[in-house]
Assembly symmetry: C2
Homo-oligomer: 211 residues x 2
Protein backbone atom coordinates (compact mmCIF):
# COMPACT_ATOMS: atom_id res chain seq x y z
CA UNK A 1 0.00 0.00 0.00
CA UNK A 2 1.23 3.48 -0.86
CA UNK A 3 -1.29 5.17 1.39
CA UNK A 4 0.97 6.20 4.24
CA UNK A 5 2.67 8.81 2.09
CA UNK A 6 -0.47 10.55 0.84
CA UNK A 7 -0.45 14.19 1.89
CA UNK A 8 -3.38 15.98 3.50
CA UNK A 9 -3.65 18.23 0.42
CA UNK A 10 -4.13 15.22 -1.88
CA UNK A 11 -6.63 13.65 0.52
CA UNK A 12 -8.66 16.87 0.53
CA UNK A 13 -8.93 16.71 -3.28
CA UNK A 14 -10.16 13.10 -3.41
CA UNK A 15 -13.82 13.91 -2.58
CA UNK A 16 -13.77 16.54 -5.29
CA UNK A 17 -12.57 14.00 -7.89
CA UNK A 18 -15.24 11.61 -6.70
CA UNK A 19 -17.90 14.31 -6.96
CA UNK A 20 -16.99 15.39 -10.50
CA UNK A 21 -16.71 11.79 -11.71
CA UNK A 22 -20.11 10.94 -10.20
CA UNK A 23 -21.68 13.92 -11.98
CA UNK A 24 -19.99 13.00 -15.27
CA UNK A 25 -21.12 9.40 -15.04
CA UNK A 26 -24.70 10.59 -14.45
CA UNK A 27 -24.39 12.75 -17.58
CA UNK A 28 -23.34 9.66 -19.58
CA UNK A 29 -19.68 10.67 -20.09
CA UNK A 30 -17.66 7.49 -20.75
CA UNK A 31 -14.05 8.70 -21.04
CA UNK A 32 -12.18 11.71 -19.76
CA UNK A 33 -8.60 12.88 -20.20
CA UNK A 34 -6.68 14.55 -17.38
CA UNK A 35 -6.84 17.73 -19.51
CA UNK A 36 -10.67 17.68 -19.73
CA UNK A 37 -10.93 16.83 -16.04
CA UNK A 38 -8.59 19.71 -15.21
CA UNK A 39 -10.77 22.15 -17.18
CA UNK A 40 -13.93 21.01 -15.46
CA UNK A 41 -12.37 21.06 -12.00
CA UNK A 42 -10.19 24.15 -12.26
CA UNK A 43 -7.08 22.18 -11.29
CA UNK A 44 -4.08 21.73 -13.52
CA UNK A 45 -3.71 18.51 -15.49
CA UNK A 46 -0.25 17.62 -14.20
CA UNK A 47 -1.48 17.92 -10.61
CA UNK A 48 -4.33 15.53 -11.40
CA UNK A 49 -1.89 13.02 -12.92
CA UNK A 50 0.39 13.41 -9.91
CA UNK A 51 -2.50 12.87 -7.50
CA UNK A 52 -3.62 9.76 -9.40
CA UNK A 53 -0.06 8.44 -9.40
CA UNK A 54 -0.18 8.36 -5.59
CA UNK A 55 -2.67 5.53 -6.02
CA UNK A 56 -0.97 3.72 -8.88
CA UNK A 57 -2.15 5.83 -11.83
CA UNK A 58 -5.51 4.36 -12.97
CA UNK A 59 -4.63 3.39 -16.52
CA UNK A 60 -3.17 5.00 -19.59
CA UNK A 61 -3.44 8.75 -19.79
CA UNK A 62 -3.15 8.91 -23.58
CA UNK A 63 -6.47 7.16 -24.05
CA UNK A 64 -8.23 8.98 -21.26
CA UNK A 65 -9.67 7.47 -18.11
CA UNK A 66 -12.81 5.36 -18.07
CA UNK A 67 -15.17 7.52 -16.00
CA UNK A 68 -17.15 4.70 -14.40
CA UNK A 69 -14.04 2.69 -13.47
CA UNK A 70 -12.26 5.75 -12.14
CA UNK A 71 -15.28 6.74 -10.04
CA UNK A 72 -15.43 3.21 -8.59
CA UNK A 73 -11.71 3.21 -7.83
CA UNK A 74 -12.05 6.61 -6.17
CA UNK A 75 -15.01 5.36 -4.10
CA UNK A 76 -12.92 2.38 -3.02
CA UNK A 77 -9.95 4.57 -2.05
CA UNK A 78 -12.23 6.88 -0.06
CA UNK A 79 -13.71 3.90 1.76
CA UNK A 80 -17.21 4.66 0.49
CA UNK A 81 -17.83 1.00 -0.32
CA UNK A 82 -17.43 0.18 3.35
CA UNK A 83 -20.13 0.69 5.90
CA UNK A 84 -19.55 2.78 9.03
CA UNK A 85 -21.48 3.06 12.25
CA UNK A 86 -21.50 6.45 13.91
CA UNK A 87 -22.89 8.02 17.06
CA UNK A 88 -23.66 11.71 17.36
CA UNK A 89 -23.12 13.62 20.60
CA UNK A 90 -25.02 16.91 20.99
CA UNK A 91 -28.48 16.87 19.45
CA UNK A 92 -28.81 20.65 19.11
CA UNK A 93 -29.36 22.57 15.87
CA UNK A 94 -26.22 21.41 14.14
CA UNK A 95 -26.54 17.86 15.45
CA UNK A 96 -30.12 17.57 14.23
CA UNK A 97 -29.20 18.99 10.83
CA UNK A 98 -26.46 16.36 10.49
CA UNK A 99 -28.89 13.56 11.34
CA UNK A 100 -31.45 14.88 8.87
CA UNK A 101 -28.98 15.59 6.08
CA UNK A 102 -29.80 13.29 3.19
CA UNK A 103 -26.45 13.59 1.42
CA UNK A 104 -24.69 11.01 3.59
CA UNK A 105 -26.68 7.91 2.77
CA UNK A 106 -24.67 7.03 -0.35
CA UNK A 107 -21.44 6.99 1.65
CA UNK A 108 -22.31 3.93 3.76
CA UNK A 109 -22.35 6.26 6.74
CA UNK A 110 -24.99 5.38 9.32
CA UNK A 111 -25.75 7.38 12.42
CA UNK A 112 -27.25 4.80 14.72
CA UNK A 113 -27.69 6.72 17.96
CA UNK A 114 -27.56 10.26 19.35
CA UNK A 115 -26.64 11.47 22.84
CA UNK A 116 -27.48 14.63 24.72
CA UNK A 117 -27.55 15.90 28.29
CA UNK A 118 -30.77 17.88 27.86
CA UNK A 119 -33.59 15.98 29.62
CA UNK A 120 -36.11 17.25 27.08
CA UNK A 121 -34.17 15.72 24.19
CA UNK A 122 -33.46 12.36 25.83
CA UNK A 123 -35.87 9.66 24.64
CA UNK A 124 -36.89 11.65 21.55
CA UNK A 125 -36.36 10.41 18.03
CA UNK A 126 -34.79 12.42 15.19
CA UNK A 127 -35.48 10.97 11.77
CA UNK A 128 -35.34 7.43 13.17
CA UNK A 129 -32.34 8.06 15.44
CA UNK A 130 -33.03 7.74 19.17
CA UNK A 131 -31.53 10.26 21.61
CA UNK A 132 -29.96 8.72 24.74
CA UNK A 133 -28.58 10.25 27.91
CA UNK A 134 -24.92 11.16 27.38
CA UNK A 135 -24.12 9.22 30.57
CA UNK A 136 -24.73 6.04 28.51
CA UNK A 137 -22.31 7.07 25.74
CA UNK A 138 -19.26 5.04 26.71
CA UNK A 139 -21.24 1.92 27.47
CA UNK A 140 -23.15 2.20 24.17
CA UNK A 141 -19.93 2.50 22.15
CA UNK A 142 -18.38 -0.50 23.91
CA UNK A 143 -21.44 -2.67 23.17
CA UNK A 144 -22.31 -1.57 19.63
CA UNK A 145 -19.17 -1.63 17.46
CA UNK A 146 -19.10 2.07 16.70
CA UNK A 147 -16.50 3.37 14.22
CA UNK A 148 -17.03 7.13 14.34
CA UNK A 149 -18.13 9.72 16.91
CA UNK A 150 -19.62 13.00 15.70
CA UNK A 151 -19.14 15.78 18.24
CA UNK A 152 -21.69 18.59 17.89
CA UNK A 153 -21.71 19.80 21.48
CA UNK A 154 -20.97 23.31 22.71
CA UNK A 155 -17.27 24.11 22.60
CA UNK A 156 -16.84 23.80 26.40
CA UNK A 157 -17.98 20.15 26.44
CA UNK A 158 -16.18 18.90 23.35
CA UNK A 159 -12.84 17.80 24.84
CA UNK A 160 -14.53 15.87 27.62
CA UNK A 161 -16.69 14.03 25.07
CA UNK A 162 -13.63 13.36 22.91
CA UNK A 163 -11.86 11.83 25.93
CA UNK A 164 -14.90 9.69 26.71
CA UNK A 165 -15.23 8.29 23.19
CA UNK A 166 -11.47 7.70 22.85
CA UNK A 167 -11.50 5.80 26.15
CA UNK A 168 -14.23 3.62 24.63
CA UNK A 169 -11.96 2.83 21.68
CA UNK A 170 -13.15 5.30 19.03
CA UNK A 171 -10.41 6.07 16.45
CA UNK A 172 -12.27 8.56 14.28
CA UNK A 173 -13.98 11.83 15.20
CA UNK A 174 -16.00 14.26 13.08
CA UNK A 175 -15.79 17.45 15.10
CA UNK A 176 -18.27 20.31 14.69
CA UNK A 177 -17.34 22.08 17.93
CA UNK A 178 -15.10 25.08 17.21
CA UNK A 179 -12.20 23.85 19.29
CA UNK A 180 -9.00 21.98 18.45
CA UNK A 181 -9.33 18.66 20.25
CA UNK A 182 -6.37 17.03 21.96
CA UNK A 183 -6.34 13.53 20.55
CA UNK A 184 -4.47 10.31 21.08
CA UNK A 185 -1.90 9.67 18.39
CA UNK A 186 -3.85 6.96 16.57
CA UNK A 187 -7.14 8.89 16.44
CA UNK A 188 -8.07 10.79 13.27
CA UNK A 189 -10.22 13.88 13.15
CA UNK A 190 -11.94 15.97 10.52
CA UNK A 191 -13.08 19.41 11.69
CA UNK A 192 -16.00 21.49 10.47
CA UNK A 193 -15.44 24.81 12.22
CA UNK A 194 -18.38 26.97 11.20
CA UNK A 195 -17.29 30.08 13.12
CA UNK A 196 -13.82 29.89 11.59
CA UNK A 197 -15.35 29.52 8.14
CA UNK A 198 -17.57 32.54 8.78
CA UNK A 199 -14.60 34.57 9.99
CA UNK A 200 -12.66 33.73 6.83
CA UNK A 201 -15.70 34.79 4.81
CA UNK A 202 -15.96 38.08 6.71
CA UNK A 203 -12.26 38.75 6.13
CA UNK A 204 -12.70 38.15 2.39
CA UNK A 205 -15.89 40.22 2.36
CA UNK A 206 -14.17 43.14 4.04
CA UNK A 207 -11.20 42.89 1.67
CA UNK A 208 -13.45 42.69 -1.39
CA UNK A 209 -15.55 45.68 -0.28
CA UNK A 210 -12.34 47.71 0.16
CA UNK A 211 -11.27 47.14 -3.45
Amino acid sequence: MLKKDISEAVIKRLPKYYRYLTDMEKLGVLKVSSKELSERMGLNASQIRQDFNCFGGFGQQGYGYNVKTLREQMANILGLLNSYRAVLVGAGNIGRAIINYAGFKESGFNIIAAFDMNEEMIGSNINGVEVYNVSQLQDYILKNQIDIAIIATPKAKAQQIADTVMDAGIKSIWNFATVDLKLKEDVCVENVHLSDSLNVLLYKTKSSLQK
Copy 2:
Protein backbone atom coordinates in the same frame (compact mmCIF):
# COMPACT_ATOMS: atom_id res chain seq x y z
CA MET B 1 -2.36 48.19 2.89
CA LEU B 2 -0.46 44.92 2.66
CA LYS B 3 -3.58 42.84 2.41
CA LYS B 4 -3.51 41.99 -1.28
CA ASP B 5 -0.56 39.67 -0.79
CA ILE B 6 -1.99 37.63 2.05
CA SER B 7 -2.18 33.96 1.04
CA GLU B 8 -5.24 31.76 1.52
CA ALA B 9 -3.23 29.64 3.99
CA VAL B 10 -2.54 32.64 6.23
CA ILE B 11 -6.18 33.79 5.98
CA LYS B 12 -7.34 30.35 7.10
CA ARG B 13 -5.18 30.63 10.24
CA LEU B 14 -6.51 34.06 11.28
CA PRO B 15 -9.75 32.76 12.87
CA LYS B 16 -7.68 30.28 14.85
CA TYR B 17 -5.47 33.04 16.24
CA TYR B 18 -8.56 35.03 17.09
CA ARG B 19 -10.12 32.02 18.83
CA TYR B 20 -7.07 31.23 20.95
CA LEU B 21 -6.55 34.87 21.91
CA THR B 22 -10.22 35.21 22.89
CA ASP B 23 -9.96 32.13 25.11
CA MET B 24 -6.72 33.38 26.67
CA GLU B 25 -8.20 36.81 27.37
CA LYS B 26 -11.16 35.13 29.09
CA LEU B 27 -8.72 33.15 31.21
CA GLY B 28 -7.03 36.40 32.28
CA VAL B 29 -3.78 35.93 30.36
CA LEU B 30 -2.20 39.34 29.77
CA LYS B 31 0.91 38.63 27.71
CA VAL B 32 1.94 35.84 25.39
CA SER B 33 5.11 35.16 23.44
CA SER B 34 5.05 33.63 19.98
CA LYS B 35 6.65 30.56 21.57
CA GLU B 36 3.84 30.14 24.12
CA LEU B 37 1.23 30.79 21.45
CA SER B 38 2.88 28.19 19.23
CA GLU B 39 2.74 25.61 22.00
CA ARG B 40 -0.93 26.25 22.69
CA MET B 41 -1.89 26.23 19.02
CA GLY B 42 0.37 23.47 17.71
CA LEU B 43 1.91 25.79 15.10
CA ASN B 44 5.55 26.70 15.00
CA ALA B 45 6.66 30.01 16.44
CA SER B 46 8.41 31.28 13.32
CA GLN B 47 5.26 30.67 11.29
CA ILE B 48 3.28 32.71 13.78
CA ARG B 49 5.78 35.57 13.57
CA GLN B 50 5.71 35.36 9.76
CA ASP B 51 1.91 35.44 9.73
CA PHE B 52 1.84 38.45 12.04
CA ASN B 53 4.43 40.20 9.89
CA CYS B 54 1.94 40.10 6.99
CA PHE B 55 -0.05 42.63 9.01
CA GLY B 56 2.83 44.72 10.27
CA GLY B 57 4.00 42.62 13.21
CA PHE B 58 1.94 43.69 16.28
CA GLY B 59 4.74 44.90 18.53
CA GLN B 60 7.97 43.60 19.95
CA GLN B 61 8.37 39.86 20.10
CA GLY B 62 10.94 39.85 22.87
CA TYR B 63 8.49 41.23 25.38
CA GLY B 64 5.59 39.12 24.20
CA TYR B 65 2.33 40.30 22.74
CA ASN B 66 -0.38 41.99 24.77
CA VAL B 67 -3.24 39.46 24.52
CA LYS B 68 -6.11 41.94 24.62
CA THR B 69 -4.55 44.29 22.06
CA LEU B 70 -3.62 41.43 19.77
CA ARG B 71 -7.14 39.99 19.95
CA GLU B 72 -8.60 43.39 19.09
CA GLN B 73 -6.22 43.83 16.18
CA MET B 74 -7.08 40.35 14.94
CA ALA B 75 -10.80 41.13 15.22
CA ASN B 76 -10.24 44.29 13.22
CA ILE B 77 -8.28 42.47 10.51
CA LEU B 78 -10.97 39.81 10.27
CA GLY B 79 -13.62 42.49 9.89
CA LEU B 80 -15.45 41.34 13.02
CA LEU B 81 -15.88 44.92 14.21
CA ASN B 82 -17.96 45.64 11.13
CA SER B 83 -21.58 44.68 10.82
CA TYR B 84 -22.81 42.56 7.91
CA ARG B 85 -26.27 41.87 6.59
CA ALA B 86 -26.88 38.45 5.14
CA VAL B 87 -29.72 36.58 3.49
CA LEU B 88 -30.02 32.82 3.56
CA VAL B 89 -31.38 30.84 0.61
CA GLY B 90 -32.68 27.34 1.32
CA ALA B 91 -34.39 26.98 4.69
CA GLY B 92 -33.95 23.20 4.98
CA ASN B 93 -32.12 21.37 7.78
CA ILE B 94 -28.76 23.01 7.23
CA GLY B 95 -30.28 26.44 6.56
CA ARG B 96 -32.32 26.31 9.75
CA ALA B 97 -29.31 25.17 11.76
CA ILE B 98 -27.31 28.14 10.45
CA ILE B 99 -30.07 30.57 11.42
CA ASN B 100 -30.33 29.03 14.88
CA TYR B 101 -26.60 28.77 15.48
CA ALA B 102 -25.71 31.05 18.38
CA GLY B 103 -22.00 31.28 17.63
CA PHE B 104 -22.33 33.98 14.98
CA LYS B 105 -23.74 36.83 17.02
CA GLU B 106 -20.35 38.08 18.23
CA SER B 107 -19.13 38.46 14.66
CA GLY B 108 -21.50 41.29 13.70
CA PHE B 109 -23.10 38.85 11.28
CA ASN B 110 -26.85 39.26 10.95
CA ILE B 111 -29.11 37.03 8.92
CA ILE B 112 -32.03 39.32 8.17
CA ALA B 113 -34.15 37.21 5.82
CA ALA B 114 -34.46 33.67 4.50
CA PHE B 115 -35.79 32.42 1.15
CA ASP B 116 -37.19 29.09 0.06
CA MET B 117 -39.32 27.65 -2.74
CA ASN B 118 -41.27 25.31 -0.49
CA GLU B 119 -44.78 26.74 -0.02
CA GLU B 120 -44.97 25.27 3.48
CA MET B 121 -41.86 27.17 4.58
CA ILE B 122 -42.78 30.52 3.03
CA GLY B 123 -44.23 32.94 5.58
CA SER B 124 -42.84 30.99 8.52
CA ASN B 125 -40.41 32.43 11.01
CA ILE B 126 -37.17 30.77 12.15
CA ASN B 127 -35.74 32.27 15.31
CA GLY B 128 -36.97 35.72 14.31
CA VAL B 129 -36.00 35.41 10.63
CA GLU B 130 -38.89 35.45 8.17
CA VAL B 131 -38.93 33.05 5.21
CA TYR B 132 -39.88 34.64 1.86
CA ASN B 133 -40.60 33.16 -1.55
CA VAL B 134 -37.34 32.75 -3.45
CA SER B 135 -38.95 34.62 -6.37
CA GLN B 136 -38.52 37.79 -4.24
CA LEU B 137 -34.80 37.20 -3.62
CA GLN B 138 -33.31 39.56 -6.20
CA ASP B 139 -35.70 42.37 -5.41
CA TYR B 140 -35.08 42.00 -1.66
CA ILE B 141 -31.31 42.21 -2.09
CA LEU B 142 -31.58 45.29 -4.28
CA LYS B 143 -33.76 47.08 -1.72
CA ASN B 144 -32.08 46.04 1.56
CA GLN B 145 -28.31 46.60 1.29
CA ILE B 146 -27.33 42.98 1.67
CA ASP B 147 -23.61 42.13 1.93
CA ILE B 148 -23.60 38.34 1.98
CA ALA B 149 -25.73 35.52 0.56
CA ILE B 150 -25.71 32.13 2.26
CA ILE B 151 -26.56 29.31 -0.13
CA ALA B 152 -27.96 26.22 1.60
CA THR B 153 -30.06 24.86 -1.25
CA PRO B 154 -29.83 21.42 -2.83
CA LYS B 155 -26.79 21.10 -5.09
CA ALA B 156 -28.85 21.30 -8.29
CA LYS B 157 -30.23 24.77 -7.47
CA ALA B 158 -27.08 26.38 -6.11
CA GLN B 159 -25.57 27.82 -9.31
CA GLN B 160 -28.86 29.39 -10.33
CA ILE B 161 -29.16 31.06 -6.92
CA ALA B 162 -25.54 32.21 -7.10
CA ASP B 163 -26.26 33.82 -10.51
CA THR B 164 -29.36 35.52 -9.11
CA VAL B 165 -27.60 37.02 -6.10
CA MET B 166 -24.56 38.10 -8.14
CA ASP B 167 -26.88 39.83 -10.61
CA ALA B 168 -28.32 41.71 -7.64
CA GLY B 169 -24.81 42.90 -6.72
CA ILE B 170 -23.77 40.44 -4.02
CA LYS B 171 -19.97 40.13 -3.74
CA SER B 172 -19.72 37.53 -1.00
CA ILE B 173 -21.20 34.02 -0.81
CA TRP B 174 -21.12 31.45 2.00
CA ASN B 175 -21.82 28.23 0.14
CA PHE B 176 -23.10 25.09 1.89
CA ALA B 177 -24.18 23.31 -1.31
CA THR B 178 -21.63 20.66 -2.27
CA VAL B 179 -20.85 22.14 -5.66
CA ASP B 180 -18.10 24.45 -6.91
CA LEU B 181 -19.89 27.62 -7.96
CA LYS B 182 -18.89 29.53 -11.07
CA LEU B 183 -18.43 33.07 -9.82
CA LYS B 184 -17.71 36.49 -11.26
CA GLU B 185 -14.14 37.58 -10.73
CA ASP B 186 -14.86 40.08 -7.96
CA VAL B 187 -17.07 37.76 -5.90
CA CYS B 188 -15.57 35.91 -2.94
CA VAL B 189 -16.76 32.55 -1.63
CA GLU B 190 -16.20 30.38 1.39
CA ASN B 191 -17.35 26.79 1.02
CA VAL B 192 -18.58 24.40 3.70
CA HIS B 193 -18.82 21.11 1.84
CA LEU B 194 -20.16 18.64 4.37
CA SER B 195 -20.13 15.61 2.06
CA ASP B 196 -16.52 16.30 1.10
CA SER B 197 -15.60 16.63 4.77
CA LEU B 198 -17.34 13.33 5.52
CA ASN B 199 -15.54 11.64 2.63
CA VAL B 200 -12.19 12.86 3.92
CA LEU B 201 -13.12 11.51 7.36
CA LEU B 202 -14.10 8.15 5.89
CA TYR B 203 -10.80 7.97 4.01
CA LYS B 204 -8.88 8.68 7.22
CA THR B 205 -11.06 6.23 9.15
CA LYS B 206 -10.43 3.46 6.63
CA SER B 207 -6.69 4.19 6.64
CA SER B 208 -6.52 4.23 10.43
CA LEU B 209 -8.46 0.96 10.75
CA GLN B 210 -6.03 -0.69 8.32
CA LYS B 211 -3.00 0.16 10.46
